[in-house]
């Protein structure tokens, strides 16, 4: 099964709220650490290497040219 690129989350606003809420009390470092764990958890759930590789490509290729320009 290819990577799903069409809307697949039944309640987009509700999910987005839950995502933001889950990190509301975290500082940037904690949020980064949590995001790393979240990626691993979701990747394991998907499991299919072809789908994961496609997701990696989509994430990388959708980088905006001005990303990272603010420095950190």
């Amino acid at each position: 099964m290819p990577l799903i690129r069409t809307p697949n989350i039944p309640d987009p606003d509700g999910f987005y709220e839950a995502l933001i809420d889950s990190q509301r009390l975290l500082d940037d470092t904690q949020a980064e650490a949590m995001n790393a764990r979240l990626i691993l958890i979701l990747a394991n759930h998907i499991g299919d290497r072809a789908v994961l590789d496609e997701a990696l490509r989509l994430a990388r290729d959708s980088q905006r040219p001005d990303e990272g320009a603010q420095g950190c």
Binding site: E32, A33, R37, I39, L40, N44
Partner: protein, 538 residues
Amino acid sequence: MHATYRYPEYAWRRSPEQDGRTARHPVVIVGAGPIGLTAALDCARRGIPSVVLDDNNTVSVGSRAVCYAKRPLEILDRLGCGARLVDKGVRWNVGKVFFRDDLVYAFDLLPQPHHKMPAMINLQQYYLEETLVDACVDSGLVDLRWKHKVVGLRQDDTGVVLRVDTPDGPFALQADWVIACDGANSDVRSMVGAQFTGKYFQDRFLIADVVMKAEFPAERWFWFDPPFHRGQSVLLHKECDNVWRIDFQLGWDADPEVERQPERVIPRIRAMLGDAVDFDLEWVSIYQFACRRIDRFRYGRVLFAGDAAHQVSPFGARGANTGIQDVDNLVWKLELVLDGAAPVALLDSYDAERSVAADDNLLNSTRSTDFITPKNRASRRFRDAVLALAAHAPFARPLINSGRLSTPTPYRDSALNTPDAEPFDGDMRPGTNCVDAPVVRAGQPGWLLEAIGDGFTVLVFGPAPDGCDGAPPACGAVRARVLVVGRDLVDAQGVLAQRYDARPGTTYLIRPDQHVAARWRSFDRAAVETALRRCLAA
């Protein structure tokens, strides 16, 4: 400094060539480390006299290569050293991984039952070398020449001339073939103009042998970011004689000269062990890891093996273990070429097969090093995320990479293999090393690997089919010995048939290095001889 081990000093002697007695040696081996000595012993086993040159006159200083895996132990057992090494070594099966203060994961090598050799032992490299030196001397076919340093090499189609320096000055030594086992900084490699490329890791490690009476079990303990060594990793291994091996990751900025000083090392160990443990520091070394390999394992009449051919990071114990397997692959081929029983082209399969193994080791070693030494902030985040999740979610545990322990790399695509024409289950595909199994021979319990020995073997699962007796299958001067299961050896427990997915008539052609060359569901002499020819590159 060494309280637990007395280093032998091997006598230097003038070479006969220095007194005008020149000879042409079939095999000259450069380097009396574990790989060179194993090569000499395998040559002796096959009746080939060899000369071994080493620029030193003792064994490895410090524990260095400390973990030996099942397949190399099987090879050393074939060469008559297995029992002594296994008796002296420390067996272990459990590995634990700690992250900060917590145990996050424990693995058990869960050694399969019904193998002669254990999954893994720890043993200081000097014990291995001393055992091999003794066995070389006992063989009567190995001419060990200490304090002999190779300083020059030239070769043509007919042979090699080495220029060798000694305390009594230089001389020339003639060889049909040279096996270069002179380590990661191989001079011979430079002399033939070989490339040795790969990557250096921007990290340094302190490696210490510590003598202590400690209650730690014989397990492999690996810490990421422990409280006693913040931000870095630490590895603890038990060796024999109450010696413990501790590796501290130091980071790239560490100054090797400063860090090797006892006044720097001892507080690090004290912080780890606490104040209650008495210990003595026996040996210290600072390493920078590299993952590199030679471009070709064969340069004319010079064959490279061990670290001279490939260098890996120590995590995973892939250095000496794979070097011993290089030798296992090489020496039978060299024997057949020396005898004129196989074309020189057979030696090109050494390069092909061991290149695949080297690449596999380099890949695993590089992946481990990338996990242990993250290259940037993002990869450290993922590394720490894996470790944090491992305590809570089983899925994260296989992602932890504190070293993937050495296992043999099968030669799946080797030109020497005859591909299966009939369906088989299980792992014993052509190109794979034969897995051991208990058998009964002449009424005595024994092992398959002892029974197949070190020549070509046709293993036929009985009852003995028509045509398997009489003259053995042959290709020119090379003959394959037929062993019938149920007659020449008995599969009393059924393990052999199960591991080889065997039915009556199932036939395996096994190489002298105990790898499967071909297999069939019935014995067919013509098919065996065709496969044998293919296996000789003839």
